[in-house]
């Protein structure tokens, strides 16, 4: 009996030590991979930072119409934000490579599924970026057009249009990430409809006077036709 207990204990100790010894190379590989990725990440970030600085990326960024977006970035510098994001990406990739070195089934599966998800992440980021650019472009066009038409709710109209496009692009990005598609669909419908309804109400109420004036002008068209503007521009 005592012999059997001793034997079982020895076997379990040997198994534990064997397993532990098996983990050691993987752990060392993980540490090494993370260290290398940290170094590579910082080198890459420095190169990108220098490249973007030489391109005057910060100034261009605000010129492209993202001045508020740069407030989110560290030290209000989009260059720093982009370079740090790249460093982080490299470090995460190094960590995943290190995990895969354990040769355990679950770690390789985890790494594989995370890598398989990266295209979705990139796609969603691109959709979001493109959506933001389009939203700002359209909003600026609407703002200028509305101001030139002497509409007093020009800013409101422009903000409404911008958020319509941004909500649409966020919904598309979330759909791309496959995050709670049902809820996203529902939330998008509610938000989009809400914005359109709010805009319709605001513009409708805001242009009440305009419509009244327009109807009055039609009613007194004959009288108004006699008053001709003396200004000719072209």
């Amino acid at each position: 009996m005592w012999q059997q207990i001793k034997q079982a204990l020895a076997q379990s100790t040997a198994r534990f030590l064997t397993r532990f010894a098996d983990l050691l190379p993987g752990t060392a590989a993980l540490i090494l991979a993370v260290l290398i990725s940290i170094v590579a990440g910082f080198i890459l970030a420095a190169i990108v930072r220098r490249l973007l600085s030489s391109m005057k990326f910060d100034q261009r960024w605000s010129r492209w119409g993202f001045p508020s977006f740069s407030d989110w970035s560290p030290s209000s510098s989009p260059t720093l934000m982009v370079s740090r994001a790249i460093a982080l990406l490299v470090i995460v990739a190094g960590f995943l490579i290190g995990l895969a070195a354990f040769d355990a089934e679950w770690t390789s599966l985890l790494a594989r599924s995370v890598f398989a998800y990266i295209p979705n992440l990139v796609g969603a980021a691109l959709v979001l970026l493109f959506g933001t650019i389009v939203a700002r472009f359209i909003a600026r066009g609407v703002l200028i057009g509305a101001v030139n038409l002497n509409l007093h709710y020009a800013r409101l109209l422009s903000i409404g249009v911008k958020w319509l496009v941004i909500v649409l692009s966020v919904a598309m990005a979330l759909e791309h990430l496959r995050i709670a598609p049902g809820i996203v669909e529902l939330a998008f419908g509610i938000l989009f409809g809400g914005i359109v309804f709010a805009l319709a109400l605001a513009v409708g109420l805001g242009s009440k006077d305009l419509v009244t004036k327009s109807l009055e002008r039609d009613a007194h068209k004959v009288a108004s036709e006699k008053i001709e503007e003396p200004f000719r521009h072209v």
């Binding site: 066009g141 703002l143 200028i144 030139n148 038409l149 020009a154 003396p230 521009h233 072209v234």
Partner: protein, 418 residues
Amino acid sequence: MEVEPIPQQAEEKIAQIESADLVIGVVADLDLKSLVAVCDSLHALSDSPRIALLRDDHSVDPAAARADAANSPAAGNAASPYIVPWPLSQPDAAGTPMLSIPAAYQSVFAACEKLGARACCLIASKLESASAEWIGQLAVPLLEEDADLVVPYYARHKFEGLLNSSIIAPLTRCLYGKRIHNPLGPDFGISRRLFEKMGGAERSANRTHPLASLTPTALCENLQVCEVYVGARMYPPTDWTNISSIVAQVLSPIFSEMERNAACWQRMRASSSVPAIGDPIFVSQDAGTVDISRMVESFHLGNSDLQEIWGLVLPPSSLVELRKLARLPPEQFHMPDDLWVRIVYDFALAHRLRTINRDHLLKSMTPLYLGWVASYARDLETGGGLALEQRLERLSAAYESGKAYLVSRWRWPDRFNP
């Protein structure tokens, strides 16, 4: 210049004509009899030039044109002009002339090249006077005096041609050093030499606007330019819903030319007059109050909503001045000329640097332009012809004295930002 293909209907007629000394393209709605009379008077010049008259199919009723042609003295008269039906322009909405007139110029240049003409004219305006003699006056300096560009000097009403008075004419004078009152025509007389220079310029720079590049090319190439006094032009009525598009369409080619000729205009210093032919024609200036409230309101709205965009284009000092201006009561509203001039220069620079989308940029300038027009209208409310001339001279002087600012901003846009 890449010339337009010859329209099929004109091909046969061109083959019959073979060659001509002068090609006159007519886009404006003018009757054939008076055009033929003008051509006959030109034919009486010393070397009896052969004239080809291109008529725009869109500007006249085809049936009326046929009847006109049949009844005209030109029919069966070898000395009279060759009349060629030619689609010079696409039918276009009133108030957007810059879209169709360049196409008309391309057509006239194509005919000019095909016929080996010494000169060409394009007539796009209708003047207040019924007589069409002024068309001949545009052509004579080309044939008799070796001029390369003949520019009309229209008699002007104080509130007409405002884009020209406020930006185009004083900017051209300041940049290229010649006092030309209507650098954008649209009626011009052009020599073959200038046409060929334009062709060279076109090949090197790809895209140019024929109407906007005629005067700068002639001045930068040191060609002979003269003005001819003509009557007052008839302008289309203002479409207030479309004014920002017109501003963008007119200014975009002007600013592009400015970019293309930067090396030339940076060398120019003071300005001088060009020879003027004929006698000045004066028109009566109606004195009376004008309603500028709409334009002032537009400026205020722009000032409150477009600050974000103007902030990308204008330096802080101009923004501060605009804010001060917006705080003035409407009856004291007045935009100083030197501020307006700096605004124009800064927008030209932003157009060159593509600070934002060019169409957005130029359209966002409209409230500022209307602000200046409101100030100008207030200045001239009760003034006559002399007051108009003095007012425009003051504006041109402001453009010239601000040129150092433009050159500094143009050369060092990042470093020189007052």
